[in-house]
């Protein structure tokens, strides 16, 4: 007897809009049905269905060999995922909170990322999990981890902002022959404004392609993740003053779609980068340098950035709100550039 299909993977086939989290679940479910080599590993993902219930009902459908509950040992099971990938499987590793990916940093950067380089062939695996602040999780359940891995050749980093992209990009990540770090902002998981009707067909969103979310010619805002939504709010505020803001959602951080960034900067002449990650060593620095290399002469003002401040994520709500980039922060920086 076939196990019942869990509700969180049945929205699209029922013709209902899906949340960001349901889009993730649908992608995993459909890929596991499509390809027997795809399997899941992680803490409490089986009986319990995962900390955020992304994999609720998967164990009954796919069994314990494909939904593997692991000990609390991120390094150990990420390393094991590499071994399974060597043998032709396509593991998807769930890190319960991506803050806890740090114990797997060694195997990810030294072993997995270097696999092709060392002549050990491609390692098709995905390491996915929730990131980001705003949920009062404090310093150990709120981090953004992209820049810990951005410096490592051999990895890809994906960070979607919409349910449609989350599903399409996760499918692409699972089908990719290289290791992919897949970040999911938990503030988007069940956000009502992220609920959308997803395509019926088996679609993918290519890794490495940014998306112009809003077209404009006065200022380019380059951003990703939850900050796409904050930037759109800011753009709406500025539009009331007549400013036309172009918002680019990177979607993939590595490889970076610098063509899309520089094309927009050549059009607008001004660039603001917005990210939730902390300031020093954030991706804004790299983007600014690439624009310097590719579009310096089109710039009509300094490149600015709006980011979290350089601090661990605070637990107190008041402190966390101060710490995180706000819509007002984006509006303020944008007005400065517009007036420059």
């Amino acid at each position: 007897m076939t196990a019942a299909i869990p509700t969180q993977v049945a929205r699209t086939r029922s013709g209902e809009p899906a949340t960001f989290l349901e889009a993730i679940s649908e992608a995993l479910w459909e890929e596991m049905e499509r390809d027997e080599s795809v399997f899941l590993m992680g803490e409490d993902i089986g009986e319990y269905g995962g900390a955020f219930k992304v994999t609720r009902g998967f164990l009954a459908r796919f069994g314990a060999t494909r939904v593997v509950d692991t000990p609390i040992s991120e390094g150990g099971f990420t390393g094991a995922a590499a071994g399974a990938a060597h043998m032709g499987l396509r593991p998807v590793v769930e890190i319960q909170f991506m803050d806890f990916v740090s114990p797997a940093y060694d195997v990810l950067t030294n072993y997995i990322a270097t696999s092709r380089y060392r002549g050990a062939g491609p390692l098709p695996l995905v390491v996915r999990g929730p990131v980001g602040g705003g949920s009062r999780g404090g310093p150990f359940h709120s981090q953004n981890v992209e820049m810990a891995f951005f410096h490592t050749p051999g990895l890809k980093i994906v960070y979607p902002a919409t349910a449609r992209d989350a599903k399409g990009l996760l499918k692409s990540a699972i089908r990719d022959d290289d290791p992919v770090i897949f970040e999911e902002h938990k503030g988007l998981y069940r956000a009502p404004h992220c609920r959308e009707l997803l395509p019926d067909e088996d679609y993918v969103v290519p890794i490495g392609e940014a998306r112009t979310v809003l077209e404009g010619d006065d200022l380019t805002v380059v951003t990703y993740g939850l900050m796409v939504h904050r930037s759109l709010e800011a753009a709406a505020t500025l539009a009331r003053d007549g400013a036309r803001i172009e918002v680019i959602d990177l979607r993939t951080l590595l490889p970076l779609d610098e063509e899309a960034i520089s094309a927009s900067v050549r059009k607008t002449g001004k660039l603001l980068i917005v990210h939730e990650d902390t300031r020093t060593g954030g991706i804004a620095g790299e983007i600014a340098m690439r624009v310097n290399e590719r579009a310096f002469e089109w710039l009509d003002g300094p490149i600015l950035r709006v980011t979290a401040i350089d601090s661990p994520v605070p637990f107190s709500g008041e402190l966390e709100d101060y710490f995180l980039p706000s819509v007002e922060d984006v509006v303020t920086a944008a007005r400065y550039l517009l007036d420059y």
């Binding site: 593997v68 094991a80 092709r116 050990a120 590719r294 310096f296 002469e297």
Partner: protein, 335 residues
């Protein structure tokens, strides 16, 4: 004809293989140490040990060339098991000397390499224990596909002091994976090693055996039994190879050769021919090595590190800027 005890208890081809591999290993060990002593290789290779016991264990696994046999990580500084899984002396020497023809085009060092068709997963990395994690995952893949294959991993004892090894063992024990971990004790122990390996094996639900100067035939049988236990779903097995001086390790090889001739498993002529063949393979590898090219940065690095040529800063490509220098002027400029 097979009899109980002695080398004759094993098929002739296994005994011949053990003798052949032992000869190759002994000669390669000498070649690499000599190259290190003469400055042709790094000093790390001066301590290279090829443990004939490790080769006997590896030979007890099922090794095929089509990707259907057992899987072996041969260890960081002890490549003997790689020979038992079908690697050649020439491949081995290409790798340690970083020839352009090496399996990883000289991009990576270490003494092991990767060829899953032959059952080899190699790496030489900065932290011990990682390969126990990786090989546990390989064992998980074998189980998922219903394949009767084991994963064999050689770790040096220092790996036990890192958390990575314990995480790999924890996972293997929890999932009762078909994993055999051989802990090689042939390097000077680190100063703070307080590991009770037997007790630790019990914690992880692993079977444990400690091996000293055990006859190779007996060790081969032991490894074959460990393989069957692992495949039976009883969980991982840890084999400890206690340290032995060079002469005692190679005495085990000599003892096998003498016993094999004494009990007519092989003839004296066959023993001589086997040794001659092994010697010829190493001599050929040494001679050939001098003709092998060094690595080419353009070929070895370009496809890996850069998908496109580096972007040169400043030139305005389209539309042309009055201030910008023509792109042609920038060609050949030093950046």
């Amino acid at each position: 004809m097979e009899r109980d005890g002695g080398s004759a208890a094993l098929p002739d081809r296994v005994v011949e293989d053990l003798l052949y591999l032992g000869c190759q290993g002994r000669l390669l060990e000498a070649v690499v140490r000599e190259m290190s002593g003469s400055g042709q290789l790094g000093t790390a290779f001066a301590d290279l040990d090829i443990d004939v016991r490790a080769m006997a264990i590896a030979r007890a696994m099922r090794s095929f060339a089509d990707g259907s046999g057992d899987l072996c990580h041969p260890g960081l500084l002890s490549p003997g098991p790689a020979l038992a899984f079908g690697a050649t002396p020439l491949e081995f020497l290409r790798h340690v000397t970083a020839r352009g023809t090496s399996p990883a085009s000289a991009r990576a060092g270490g003494l092991s390499w990767h060829d899953t068709d032959r059952g080899l997963i190699g790496w030489g990395g900065p932290r011990g224990g990682t390969m126990t994690q990786v090989m546990a995952g390989a064992a998980l893949a074998h189980r998922q596909r219903g394949e009767d294959r084991v994963a064999l991993v050689f770790e040096e004892r220092g790996a036990l002091q890192g958390g990575g090894w314990h995480e790999g063992m924890s996972l293997s024990g929890a999932l009762a994976l078909a994993l055999i971990v051989v802990v090689e004790d042939s390097f000077p122990p680190d100063s703070a090693d307080a590991t009770d390996l037997r007790a630790m094996a019990g914690v992880y639900g692993a079977d444990f055996v400690s091996v000293g100067a055990m006859e190779l035939v007996e060790l081969y049988r032991l490894a074959a039994d460990a393989r069957q236990r692992a495949l039976g779903g009883d969980g991982p097995v840890i084999v400890e190879l206690r340290p032995l001086p060079d002469e005692e390790r190679w005495a085990l090889h000599d003892g096998l050769a003498e016993a094999a001739v004494a009990d007519d498993t092989i003839s004296e002529r066959e023993r001589v021919d086997t040794e001659a063949a092994a010697t010829a393979s190493v001599e050929h590898a040494s001679e050939r090595l001098g003709k092998e090219p060094g690595p080419s940065p353009e070929e070895a690095l370009a496809p890996i590190c850069a998908a496109a040529p580096p972007i040169r800063p400043w030139p305005r490509l389209d539309p042309p800027s009055p201030q910008a220098r023509p792109v042609e002027e920038l060609q050949g400029a030093a950046w």
